[in-house]
């Protein structure tokens, strides 16, 4: 499986963030894809919830409970996302993996200021697709790391630096339901 669903919303400004889009409960939740280390079946977890993959241990975190989203429960679409950086790694369940999307920075909206609570720590903002609105999870919050401003800037990529197939060898994402994501008004990643 490759990254056939990968699209840029627009490429005019030349910068974007690559997201792994998932479904948790009824919500589309997007994670900056740079820290996605793998996607495995729930059966890959040990009895203590720990996933060991490529020599790295991924401690389980109940992300749906932390996000305060009611998960649909384990199904054939459920996957464990292995997420981490140099400092910390975690695994968490999602109800479905939608696919990868490159979203131009200008199309990423911060959470409106009327949201004043702790959700501002959990969510960096959102982007709008043709048929869905994806909430962007704060990757530092996901990994329970100290929060900082301008988090998404760490994940900005330039299209000019992105070569076709580059990510394909690094991360293979099941393209379940990716048609929906592909229906965004897009042009292919160059």
């Amino acid at each position: 499986m490759g990254l056939r669903g990968q699209r840029a919303v627009t490429i005019s400004s030349g910068q974007a963030v690559r997201f792994l889009v998932t479904l948790i409960g009824g919500s589309s939740v997007a994670f900056p894809a740079q820290w996605v280390r793998g996607i495995v079946m729930p059966a890959s977890a040990g009895p203590n919830g720990l996933v060991t993959w490529a020599g790295v241990e991924y401690e389980r975190t109940d992300l749906s409970a932390r996000l305060k989203v009611v998960s649909k429960g384990v199904s054939s679409d459920t996957r464990l996302i292995l997420y981490g950086n140099d400092e910390r790694s975690r695994s968490f369940a999602v109800d479905k993996v939608v696919g990868l999307l490159d979203v131009e920075g200008a199309l990423i909206h911060p959470l409106p200021p009327q949201f004043r609570g702790k959700e501002r720590e959990r969510l960096l903002g959102f982007f709008v697709g043709a048929s869905f609105v994806a909430l962007i999870a704060n990757p530092l919050w996901v990994l329970e790391l100290p929060l900082r401003a301008q988090t998404l800037e760490m994940f900005a990529i330039r299209f000019a630096e992105s070569k076709a197939g580059e990510s394909d060898s690094r991360l293979h994402v099941p393209m379940v339901g990716v048609d929906e994501a592909m229906s965004m008004s897009t042009s292919p990643v160059s």
Partner: protein, 158 residues
């Protein structure tokens, strides 16, 4: 040019004075509760587009609605009055909120415009900072809601 401006000036002043004696109000209902709001606090009325839930700790602000190329936060005014609005039969009231545009789900009955004499508007500070007072629009005495600061003052108090 100057003369014509001078001639127009008294007319404008008279018009302004007339404006000062009345207040334009919009009357709408949320889950059957009738409310009035100042016209200048309203940006428009649209069909209700359906919401995207946001796992939020902010009271009464728990979803987004699509609007043009982006989304607006939704203030659940029905929940504030312990009511439930039927979203499938409703309209979206766009509010010019101090923190940016805000959406409110209102009943499908199209809001009506009223020119209310100033004497028909009673401003009073009660327990609820979102309610500015009351006004008489048509034959009804209605609560006057502060749409532009909805949720701001009440959250400060909490």
């Amino acid at each position: 040019m100057l003369r014509s401006q001078l001639r127009r000036h008294p007319h404008t002043t008279a018009s302004g004075a007339a404006h000062a004696r009345v207040q334009n109000m919009v009357v709408f209902s949320v889950a059957g509760k009738r409310l009035a709001a100042r016209t200048e606090e309203i940006g428009g009325v649209l069909p209700w587009p359906g919401t995207t839930a946001v796992p939020s700790d902010t009271p009464l602000v728990t979803s987004l609605v699509r609007h043009e190329e982006s989304c607006l936060p939704v203030f659940d005014l029905a929940a504030k009055f312990n009511r439930t609005v039927r979203e499938e039969e409703s309209l979206c009231l766009i509010v010019k909120h101090v923190d940016g545009p805000l959406a409110i789900c209102i009943d499908s009955q199209v809001p009506s415009l009223h020119v209310v004499p100033r004497s028909g508007v009673q401003y009073q500070s009660g327990l609820d900072p979102d309610i500015a007072g009351s006004c008489v629009a048509g034959d009804e005495q209605l609560p006057l809601i502060n749409l532009a600061t909805l949720g701001v003052a009440s959250q400060r108090q909490a």
